[in-house]
């Protein structure tokens, strides 16, 4: 045990930090893009507050296109774009761009489902009280959707952690990379097990926190 920690402790710690960095930075950026995108998709739907068939269809097609590309392919496919945005295609910075591009449309879809669950009657009630559209979006739509938004973001985070495992391919590092490089390629099987257990624990904790938080907000 001691020996294992002495040998791999630093590497694992560094990997965990990298995973955390990749996940949190891309998650934040993906949320900043994904939530407004999801709101836009819902609001431009026929019959909604900003109904616009053309805009709605365009958003839908864009989201579908990006969502149909597997992450591993997206990673290489957008190399020129990544280089243009952050100036490099390797390391933690290099992987953030594809991770965001992968996660943001996913979050947008999850937000769409979450927001569509909000009772249209409440929106109507606020309209009848003379509230502005912006007020209704923020104080009714997003507020009432919070429990589902939290569940959706938990889901997105878990899938994001999975995607970071592929980050090793562009030198992004992280826990998944350690499991692949040392565990699989160099036959350090115990290390691979440890990484897998760490990832399982991480996902369990995340999902539990997400579920509890959502249930707390739901007030049923």
């Amino acid at each position: 045990m001691r020996e294992f920690i002495d040998q791999w402790g630093d590497i694992l710690w560094e990997g965990a930090i990298q995973t955390f960095q990749m996940t949190s930075i891309s998650l934040i950026i993906a949320i900043l893009i994904g939530i407004p995108l999801g709101v836009a998709v819902v609001l431009t739907r026929p019959g909604q507050l900003l109904a616009n068939r053309f805009f709605y269809q365009v958003l839908n097609i864009i989201i579908n296109i990006v969502r149909s590309i597997p992450f591993i392919i997206l990673l290489f496919f957008i190399i020129p774009f990544t280089k243009f945005i952050v100036g490099t295609t390797i390391g933690v910075e290099g992987i953030i761009v594809p991770l965001v591009l992968y996660t943001a449309p996913y979050i947008a879809r999850l937000m769409e489902t979450a927001l569509l669950e909000v009772d249209h009657g409440v929106i109507e009630a606020y309209k009848a009280m003379g509230m502005k559209r912006g007020q209704i979006i923020w104080h009714v739509l997003l507020r009432e959707a919070r429990p589902s938004i939290i569940l959706g973001l938990t889901l997105a985070t878990v899938s994001l952690i999975g995607a970071t495992a592929m980050a090793g391919l562009v030198g992004g590092g992280g826990l998944g990379d350690i499991a692949y490089r040392y565990g699989f390629q160099q036959y350090e099987t115990p290390l691979m097990y440890v990484v897998v257990i760490l990832l399982i624990l991480l996902v369990q904790v995340l999902q539990t926190v997400g579920n509890k938080w959502s249930a707390h907000l739901k007030r049923d």
Partner: protein
């Protein structure tokens, strides 16, 4: 005051134009409670949603206190809307916040100063009788309590008009009564004008001054509640009245009453309910009234009594008796025609 002038609303579905409301005219003077009754699909919901332009009428004018809403800018319309409260069948509360916040959030958004907020919320919670429920969440309340919160939310913006879209339709009869009492109280104490739609005749009976009966998008009959209860003209109105007290007797029912001759319904309104009319006719004319059924309906502005009688006696005596009754202000109506056993 609410005035609807020649309101028409068309919907286009599958390239076909469906007219939900056609040429409806309606005036609710300040301080009165008017009700629109109709079966589902009659267009009453569309009609009430035209009043605050949740539904934009295809034709016609909507005037609130003389101001034509269809000509207002978006911000002008919002301003009017904040003074026209609305309550709904399914309450439409925010589920993720407390009762207090359900009332406070719209107030905050409407720009009510922070220091007045608490007192304002308390005041209206008290009016609806839920002052001890401020920290509860909607899921912890009964249907009637949720509707009370919705009413408090609507009232807290201090409107002069309240629109009620089937507000009691999801509630049991006892809760319905308590909500109707509350609506009557806010009408009397706060002077709020109310326009409501319903499919329940007892809602009309208990709180309305004036009724509109709607069918296929048109108002087929209207009048004061007493007029409608005593002298209904349209078949639909009669059908609704039947839900309160059976007006039409079926042939088999008359048959089973084992009577020969006319079955007559006598309707008494207000003052005439005090007269001993039947005793009088049996004394004056050679007829014997046989009471088959009787009931009394308490309306918001009066009392209506009904007696279904079978008169025994020869034709001339019966005719004289009925004439006498009509002259004493009692409405006489033949039911089921002549029946011979």
């Amino acid at each position: 005051m609410i005035e609807l002038k020649n309101i028409e609303k068309n919907f286009v579905s599958n390239k076909k134009v469906v007219t939900a409301v056609r040429d409806v005219n309606l005036t609710v003077p300040a301080g009165e409670i008017h009700g629109v009754i109709g079966y589902s699909g009659a267009g009453k919901s569309t009609l009430i949603r035209c009043v605050n332009l949740l539904e934009q009428p295809s034709k016609g004018q909507v005037l609130i206190d003389g101001k034509d809403l269809t000509k207002l800018s978006a911000s002008g319309l919002r301003k009017v809307r904040s003074k026209v409260g609305m309550i709904f069948q399914h309450f439409n509360l925010l589920k993720t916040v407390t009762v207090y916040e359900n009332i406070a959030i719209p107030l905050k958004l409407a720009g009510v100063p922070k220091k007045e907020l608490g007192a304002r919320v308390q005041k209206y919670l008290q009016i609806v009788g839920l002052e001890d429920r401020a920290t509860n969440y909607p899921a912890q309340l009964s249907g009637g309590q949720k509707q009370r919160v919705a009413i408090a939310r609507a009232l807290s913006l201090e409107p002069t008009i309240l629109l009620s879209d089937e507000a009691t339709s999801a509630l049991d009869p006892e809760t319905t009564d308590s909500i109707l009492d509350l609506l009557l109280k806010i009408n009397r104490e706060l002077g709020i004008t109310i326009l409501l739609i319903t499919h329940e005749m007892n809602v009309i009976q208990k709180i309305c001054d004036h009724v509109y009966v709607m069918e296929n998008g048109s108002v087929v009959e209207q009048g004061s509640t007493i007029e409608l209860f005593t002298n209904p003209q349209h078949a639909t109105t009669r059908k609704f009245l039947n839900t309160i007290s059976q007006r039409q007797l079926s042939d088999s029912l008359i048959d089973s009453l084992h009577v020969t001759g006319d079955v007559t319904r006598l309707t008494f309104v207000g003052a005439s309910t005090g007269q001993p009319a039947l005793a009088e006719i049996s004394k004056r004319f050679a007829v014997t009234p046989n009471i088959l059924a009787a009931n009394i309906i308490e309306l918001k502005n009066g009392i209506v009594g009904n007696i279904t009688v079978h008169l025994e006696g020869d034709d001339a005596a019966r005719e004289q008796a009925l004439q006498y009754l009509e002259q004493s202000g009692i409405q006489v109506e033949q039911l089921g025609g002549l029946v011979y056993a």
